[in-house]
């Protein structure tokens, strides 16, 4: 991918607001608690908007100004560690760290991440023809 900053923000907002939301709700129904996964999704989204600025800055050092899938995986792991670390150390409002098993967090985060990653790698282009030419921007 060769995203622009607006493209990064819009794509993240769109993906987490659609596929991320659906996967989270399904996951919540499965574990019998939709509230915590939804709040966590919100944190991943909110922090992510900040991370994207950092990624965009790092990307500008690359000659091709691109962001390969491998980097998306790397940043995905990094963001998971940060959110999990914050929950377990200083704590994030709305999430009870002691009541959140690591495996549950990992399962939820991975499910959302894999779903959105796969959609970005292809199917999104089928319904949004211009998306790939605009660095991930719609408007």
């Amino acid at each position: 991918m060769t995203p622009t900053l607006l493209g990064r923000w819009q794509t993240r907002l769109f993906l987490l607001g659609t596929i991320g939301l659906i996967v989270t709700l399904l996951f919540g129904m499965f574990i019998g608690d939709t509230r915590t996964p939804l709040i966590l999704l919100g944190y991943v989204l909110g922090l992510g908007l900040v991370w994207e600025m950092l990624y965009q800055y790092l990307q500008s050092f690359r000659w091709d100004q691109d962001w390969p899938p491998a980097f998306q995986v790397g940043t995905g792991i990094f963001e998971a560690l940060v959110v999990w670390g914050l929950v377990q150390t200083i704590g994030l409002p709305g999430v009870d760290g002691s009541a959140l098993p690591g495996t549950t967090f990992l399962a939820h985060y991975s499910a959302v991440w894999v779903a959105t990653f796969l959609v970005v790698q292809g199917p999104l282009r089928i319904i949004f023809l211009h998306w790939r030419y605009r660095g991930g921007q719609w408007v």
Partner: protein, 655 residues
């Protein structure tokens, strides 16, 4: 060097077009971005007043004017250096050669002619593509009078329908007409049909039935046979407007079906990690051509395309265009026809191959077209000779084509060890181009980049930057991103390493004074350096010119006529100027519109004009504009229609 001389000649190459430029003038000379300089360089890496060349105590000095990004000799940043004939220095993306001898011999007035042929050689250094049988081949046509279409009314910028009817020529009508018939036309027609236009409203005129015919031939000549890989991205699919599934996914799928798990993993890893962790994936030429043929069958290209050589385009008095074309039958009889259309798309590709002036002089003087060849000509005989007898090949130019030929030579050398490769480059490349914080890598004087422009030029930050820029800024950006590069492939890099180590591949630098035939071999004499003009000599059995294709408007009679007749605007790269939606604005005629894409539009809203994805981008933008203009039959491709159309594509059903 003559110590009383005050004349100097410097030559350089336009980073984006590779057109040679020369400046010859009296010292001192100033170099910088501002128009007041003697040599004006458009680049963000060049300061307003960047450097000066002046005479001091019998020497010629190059002095950096405290520029922000520096003046370099090799990798070294200099403040002041003595210049001698044959020296080279670098300012931003430009590399200069100093040539004092020519300046003394011929120079009189200052000349700043970016785009002009370098040196003293007043020779036509381009071979136009000409029709030979059913194929277009690089070929020097015998000089002949300008061909005139037998219709008087076409001399006027606007012709009336009445005049056309009176001509007695066969006239057909359509709504959308693609001129060129190559890949640019094909992807435009593909978009139109997917956007809802009925096939009977669309026509394409060109010389070859296969949309990829000419491209495929140029690939073959330049040593990319069917099984080799093109320098193109997985998602640049001329057969699929969505770019998904890309060629990599399809190849993974095929490998899995054949049970080749290892291949599937390799390709998957490539697209996952490229270009940082793995070498960039590129599709096999044969797979790409097969996919284009499949899409051509799906959209009914055979019914849309018709054979013809387009001679002229004129506005009509009813807000349309008349396209005059000729058809030559097998027995050489030529028939003239006219076609009327409301919307035109012009994508005629490169009109010819470019020859280095000294090589063209050699060919014209000796008539020897066998030992001095262009990489884009059919030159299989060179490899056959080498396979049988061995020999030395001199390569000129260092782009992707040079690297492919190098690879082919290495393959033959594996069987026939007495093959040597001399690589003549104009100047050393110590540092790659730079843009803001980013820099291109260099190894053994080859500059690396996966594709021919930075990847974000297709759909990222750089595409946006260029689109929003004005003409001057576009010129600067293109120069900063341009330059001759090749993709870093492991197998190929190993060939270069081994060749250099074993001594059968050697790189030389210098400017050519003359190429001649002596003792049944080719002798290339280089200009000397400094006070010692010993004229280095390079002996070879063959010379292969890998400097590329020519895209000057003047080379294409149709475009030349159009630009002159309608006084169309040009970009600073001297190509055809198009709006951000690829419309040739000066051709607007009532509701009628003309769009253009491809090599002719360099300097406009997009950089990778001649790439698959660049052509698709241009097609999409122009079809979007047609939707906005409420052109007949075109409908916006909303998500649902896009999905439906994709399903039809996947099922091989007509759009």
């Amino acid at each position: 060097m003559n110590s009383t001389s005050t004349m100097i000649q410097v030559t350089w190459v336009d980073p984006a077009t590779e057109d040679a430029a020369v400046y010859r003038g009296e010292l001192p000379i100033s170099i910088g971005r501002e128009p007041v300089n003697d040599i004006v360089l458009k680049s963000n890496r060049v300061s307003r007043t960047h450097a000066r060349i002046e005479r001091s105590n019998g020497s010629i000095l190059l002095i950096d004017q405290q520029s922000r990004n520096g003046t370099r000799v090799g990798a070294e940043r200099i403040t002041q250096v003595v210049l001698q004939a044959g020296d080279s220095f670098q300012i931003g993306p430009f590399t200069f050669q100093v040539d004092l001898s020519d300046a003394e011999a011929g120079g009189d007035t200052g000349l700043n002619s970016q785009g002009a042929d370098a040196g003293e050689l007043a020779v036509d250094a381009t071979l136009n593509f000409s029709q030979v049988g059913d194929a277009l081949l690089p070929f020097t046509p015998p000089p002949r009078a300008e061909y005139a279409f037998p219709l008087a009314g076409l001399d006027q910028p606007e012709v009336s329908l009445q005049e056309l009817e009176q001509s007695g020529l066969p006239i057909s009508e359509t709504t959308y007409l693609a001129i060129g018939g190559g890949l640019g036309s094909f992807v435009w027609v593909d978009h139109l049909l997917i956007f809802g236009v009925k096939p009977d409203q669309v026509a394409a005129i060109g010389l070859e039935a296969k949309p990829h015919g000419r491209y495929e031939r140029l690939c073959r000549f330049s040593q990319i046979p069917q099984h080799e890989r093109l320098r193109s991205n997985a998602e640049s699919c001329p057969d699929n407007i969505w770019g998904w599934p890309g060629y990599a996914s399809r190849e993974v799928w095929q490998a899995l079906r054949r049970g080749k798990l290892g291949d599937a993993v390799t390709i998957g890893w490539q697209v996952f990690g490229e270009p940082t962790l793995a070498q960039t994936y590129t599709p096999q030429a044969g797979n790409v051509f097969a996919s284009i043929e499949r899409e051509a069958r799906r959209i009914g290209w055979e019914q849309i395309w018709r054979y013809g050589h387009v001679k002229a385009i004129r506005k009509t008095d009813d807000g349309r265009y008349v396209v005059a074309y000729s058809q030559t039958s097998a027995d050489g009889e030529r028939q003239h026809k006219l076609m009327l259309a409301r919307y035109l798309h012009i994508a005629v590709g490169y009109p010819g191959v470019r020859f280095l002036p000294d090589l063209q002089v050699y060919r014209e003087q000796t008539g020897d077209f066998q030992s001095v060849v262009n990489a884009y000509e059919d030159h299989e005989h060179v490899y056959e000779h080498l396979r049988a007898h061995g020999g030395t090949v001199l390569l000129r130019g260092r782009g992707i084509v040079a690297s492919r030929i190098m690879q082919r030579l290495a393959e033959i050398r594996a069987q026939k060890p007495n093959i040597n490769v001399l690589h003549l480059m104009r100047s050393p490349v110590a540092m790659g181009h730079q843009f803001k914080h980013a820099r291109r890598t260099v190894e053994h004087h080859w500059e690396f980049q996966p594709f021919n422009w930075p990847k974000a030029c297709w759909g990222g930050t750089l595409r946006k930057l260029l689109e929003d820029a004005d003409d001057q800024q576009r010129e600067e950006l293109l120069n900063d991103w341009g330059g001759t590069t090749t993709a870093r492939r492991k197998d190929w890099a190993q060939i270069v390493e081994r060749g250099l180590r074993e001594g059968w591949y050697q790189i030389r630098f210098g400017a050519v004074r003359q190429v001649e035939r002596r003792q049944e071999r080719l002798l290339t004499q280089l200009h000397g350096r400094g006070a010692i003009q010993d004229e280095a000599q390079l002996w070879a059995d063959f010379i292969i010119d890998c400097t590329g294709l020519e895209a000057e408007i003047e080379r294409n009679t149709l475009l030349k006529d159009l630009v002159e007749r309608y006084d169309l605007e040009r970009t600073l790269k001297r190509r055809l100027k198009v709006a951000n939606d690829f419309e040739v604005v000066g051709m607007r005629n009532g509701a009628g519109r003309v769009y253009a894409s491809g090599a002719m539009t360099l300097g406009g809203p997009t950089a990778p004009v001649d790439s698959f994805l660049g052509l698709q981008y241009a097609a999409l933008r122009s079809v979007d504009a047609l939707v906005a203009a409420r052109a007949p039959g075109v409908r916006a491709l909303n998500s649902l229609r896009s999905l439906t159309q994709w399903v039809r594509w996947a099922g091989g059903v007509h759009p």
